[in-house]
Symmetry: none
């Protein structure tokens, strides 16, 4: 594929991304994307055969950008509890954001395409986050901030709660306070209890 082709494919992917954010996954037709991209019907088919392929490309792009969720903006001397709190705050912000997000489309897509472990973005991101949180908890224990007998279990628990909250936010109105409360709850479980 030529350089220009790659550029165009990227252009289509990014344009389609916006369409998916607005309309979710299933709702989107090839026509929608053709129109958003302002290209010809046939032109789109040069790059993608169906909306599924396009969405998968969007996911790839998403993944690349998401790989450094944690790595950024973390001051070197920050305490583990601060980093965790920052991460949770970030998650909260995203799940409450009323603006269009890809979340809905992603869930719609995976409802239809329960792909096996390795290629499943949802699982990958989940596992990656669990891993990072676990490391944070361990660091917190060493620092004397946290007390926890099962850091891996605690990390998974946090992520399942977050996933539950995400779905809740996506499928019913959920007040910010409710999210805060849940986040507080899981954080408190980590601190030493006297």
């Amino acid at each position: 594929m030529s350089d220009k082709s790659i550029q165009k494919k990227k252009y289509i992917t990014q344009t389609a991304r916006r369409v998916f954010m607005e309309k979710g996954y299933r709702q989107v037709t090839m026509k929608d994307i053709v129109e958003a991209c302002q290209i010809s019907r046939g032109g789109l088919y040069l790059y993608f055969q169906n909306t599924g392929e396009i969405f998968e490309e969007v996911l790839k792009l998403e993944q690349e950008e998401a790989d450094d969720v944690f790595g950024q903006n973390i001051p070197g001397e920050a305490m583990p509890s601060d980093i965790l709190a920052l991460f949770l705050k970030e998650q909260k912000k995203e799940l409450l954001s009323r603006g269009p997000s890809l979340n809905k489309a992603i869930y719609e897509y995976f409802f239809e395409n329960r792909t096996a472990g390795k290629e499943n973005l949802l699982k990958k991101q989940f596992d990656a986050a669990v891993h990072v949180i676990e490391k944070l908890i361990q660091a917190g224990i060493q620092e004397g901030e946290f007390y926890c007998e099962d850091p891996a279990g605690a990390a998974r628990n946090i992520m399942y709660v977050l996933e539950g909250l995400k779905i809740a936010a996506q499928t019913r109105q959920i007040p910010e306070a409710a999210v805060d409360r849940e986040i507080l709850y899981v954080m408190q479980g980590l601190f030493l209890e006297e």
Copy 2:
């Protein structure tokens, strides 16, 4: 509406329910339901204008039947921890069942129709379950089985984890052991720690 009409509407709703279980929500067309019900195309329109209306009727029906989730099969002299374990086991069974369930359709529906709190079945069932679990925990504390400083928070935590697990099961392959592990984790958090 005549008595016969009511019967027919119920018949359509129940038949459509099976269709939704098989195909989810979005995928289902009026044609699918007409064919499943073996009624005429026009006939269906006498009762429902679109698949959304039908699904809402299915949800109503669901709600009525679901109102007594807990009330059944619980031996009077059972310990709270046993009842809770039973409930979690029940949930586990449902979320792992590979057979058709309404879950997927329900999530698909609420992804598209983030209806406000009061009428939102998902929220209602969630809140109801939280309430029951909270009562159980309180009973467990009194019985000396559980130790918990925030029964309401613990109950919500359990339910969010369950919702997260439900989504995980729906969107990626999840082994039974993983579900067991999470359930065990939340249960252990309730027992007295020495």
Copy 3:
């Protein structure tokens, strides 16, 4: 299927027949037939799924009408040679007719759908004609008109020549004289040679 449906299906079939006569088989699209019938796109699909199905229906119709090719217009006291000559003349007329005929479409269809013996119209008509010609030749022998040691072979020979002529007429310009010459040739082979 209701009576009205049957009527409409017949109407479509007959209208489509004309389309096939004009354009052959492959060339014809569902759209062509929709337009010729002046019905809606979807309307046609109520009766047929693709042009193949329509053409098969046309063939059925053809077959019913063709079943009495020989039976008509034959004066009771006619000599076998006269009847045979009449049949050959009939065939000649058809194969030379410049007006649109179904021939081209039929061959196109069977080029693509070399269906097995039993359902193959081409084979059926061929075999039926061979059988009738054989009977005629036998009758002619008894009457003392013909001499022939292998009536069945002669009958098949005649039909293969006719098929060859039909194709020739369809695929290149063939003068009437050429057809006459071939017909004469096969007829002469039947008469007693002194």
Copy 4:
């Protein structure tokens, strides 16, 4: 046209020939040929405007190669009847061969393009074959092998039967025995009958 151009045109023609053998005439698209030739879409248009032009070029090539159908492999001292038998055997082999042949495509093409006599390959080959067979029959008469009052008529009869058989083989399943029977029949007609 440069030398290189001529080479390329020949390359395209020969590659397209294989495509036509596989898919017939109508079915083949410019895209098919572009892909088979592994050249660019635009490149093909430098040489041919449509599949018809390409097929005509294929036919020309065919014609050149076919000009010496009879001339080869015939031992000088062979009897006419042997040569004729050999030719018929050759024809039989070809018409029964289940492998891909150009036959179908050729008929499809001429069904659509009933070109006038001079340029019509089908007619040319037919007439050429008739001529050779006629010569053979005459030679056979002189040798005392054959008896025939109308060698030209007999030759034409043989060729029409062959054409009929070819079509039959192409459009319905025909057993080898049936072909043998017809060939035997026309051969026997040539031998002296006592």
